[in-house]
Symmetry: C2
Subunit: 334 residues, 2 copies
């Protein structure tokens, strides 16, 4: 800390204020201190910090959307690992807004969390570099960090989507649609890449009107599904759809249950499992991620860092699993 203070040309108390997120430091001074911290690779001693803080240890989790059921078991798994380490979990949601993510992650740092697990909305995480250098352990989950090196835990989205589309092809489909999340999202891109790979491997052409990325709200998904299903996009109608995530799948289940499509059943495979998928008619075939396993893996990686593991950033890739239940095994009309 003395070296940081000397390099930044400030007193020890000022360094302490910046590190602990206390007020009373001008933004210019704060920047100088943070630059000095980064330059010197200063790390706080974690045990000393908990003792000095005198409050319970805590970790922060930033997810994309609190209302998405994918994040419920994931959050709970992170919380269970935190609890096993005597720490509290504090959550926040970025609402898929990069600025909101930044604000929330820095607010959690200012409130002195010991570590962060982030499902990123942003593609530039340089704003976190000073915090990480100052000892806030950080693990990225579900999507990689942007422009910094850090630990991450990802599902194998590419391979999951590839195997789901190959499953539809194995059941006789040649015209398959893909409806996914916004094109800026890493998992959406990877799953689309998996779809294209499976189609290419089978020598099947892809009409661009069969591919739709965008927000996961039901209106957008309905419009894109209708276009692929009735052939109004210019290409022949699809006989099967691969859905890029559980929000899209739930809307597609509703669309396909409408009287219009009952006479001509359309096959469906969705990325992500969801509650009651097995009790629908037909039961929904999915590429299941294990959100609890993802949360647990990320939290365990985080506590390894907090316990002092000094190793280069790691990437854990978690496999997905095809769960065949009925909707993905419907054959094409003839």
């Amino acid at each position: 800390m003395k070296d940081v203070a000397a390099r930044a040309g400030v007193g020890l108390k000022t360094v302490s204020r910046v590190v602990n997120g206390e007020a009373g430091v001008s933004s210019d001074t704060e920047r100088r201190v943070r630059e000095a911290i980064t330059a010197l690779g200063f790390r706080r001693n974690d045990s000393a910090r908990v003792l000095r803080k005198g409050t319970t240890a805590s970790i922060g989790l930033v997810v994309e959307d609190l209302a998405d059921p994918f994040y419920s078991p994931l959050s709970r798994a992170v919380e269970e690992v935190a609890r096993a380490h005597g720490a509290l979990l504090i959550n926040g949601s970025s609402a898929e807004d990069p600025e909101r993510e930044r604000e929330l992650a820095l607010a959690l740092c200012a409130r002195r969390v010991d570590g962060l697990v982030i499902v990123p909305a942003s593609d530039d995480h340089r704003y976190l570099a000073p915090e990480i250098a100052a000892g806030v352990a950080t693990v990225f989950l579900d999507r990689p960090p942007g422009r910094i090196e850090a630990d991450m835990v990802l599902s194998d989205s590419f391979e999951g989507a590839r195997s789901g589309v190959a499953h539809l092809i194995a059941h006789g489909h040649r015209r398959i649609g893909f409806i996914g999340d916004r094109p800026g999202i890493h998992t959406a891109k990877e799953r689309l890449r998996g779809y294209r790979a499976a189609m290419a491997e089978a020598g099947l052409p892809v009409s661009e009107s069969w591919v739709a990325l965008g927000p996961t709200g039901s209106d957008r998904v309905r419009t894109d599904a209708a276009r692929m299903l009735d052939g109004s996009g210019g290409a022949a109608p699809v006989t099967a759809v691969f859905s890029g995530n559980n929000r899209v799948t739930v809307t597609l289940v509703r669309v396909l249950a409408e009287p219009e499509w009952r006479g001509r059943p359309v096959a469906l495979v969705g990325f992500d499992d969801f509650e009651l998928a097995d009790l629908l008619s037909p039961p929904v075939t999915v590429i299941a991620q294990d959100p609890a396993d993802l949360g647990r893996s990320a939290a365990e990686l985080l506590f390894r860092r907090l316990d002092g593991a000094e190793e280069p950033p790691r990437t854990l890739s978690r496999p997905t699993k095809l769960v065949a239940r009925g909707s993905g095994e419907i054959p094409p009309p003839d």
Copy 2:
């Protein structure tokens, strides 16, 4: 603050440390300061506080279980109101553990949230009185606070359950089971009271083997359901079941879909709506709460307090709505 310092026999700096949750104060001194704060009804000035803190305003939300889908839209609604007020939302989960709730609520106060929305697990919230007196606005949601007076927003659990059971009676049922959450939980007690009221109003006797409160894990619910359905509890088998919340309902949907009960359909009404309830066979009749409305109402009440509303604690009771979809309209065998 001077008066608090004088009364507690400490310096101004010590009062400031206690109020801001900083370390370096013995627990004995902290208690004396908090007692003085309570005695004097000391309130921090919120604007001054935000300025002094130099960080974004934030509110905390403590729920029972992050993995329960009831809390997803509720959390999101609280977050949206917070955002409209320029504040961040920080969440935590008590896992239905009173000690955990206390630890989390106090940790959020120590991390200087401006207000708290709490779905309580505890039945004694006196631990929060000094925080409330020190200006942390607090609203209880879904269940009332214990042993303190505070704002609260509750669904009308009694009336909702009464109307759901009356609906089953109107469809000809005389032997109706009730499977609910743990008996210590306010909403579980209120819903059971609604069940008993509807049965009494119709002059129907209740066998105690038709009533089961307990944890919402699927094993417990399955055991209790089997006893009521096959009559092994000593009383005649039930022809309908009223479920006390969405976790119980989802297990009951699975139980009733098993081959054993297909030949003798059992009517089901569940408290709480849930995603895809309308696409199951039969679609599930529910007493719907509006979790987004509950979250929004609580958050708006909180920001009224933060904006300086000085009025006695209020209780908002929100109505429920019967949504008839099919499972609750199945008649008894004869």
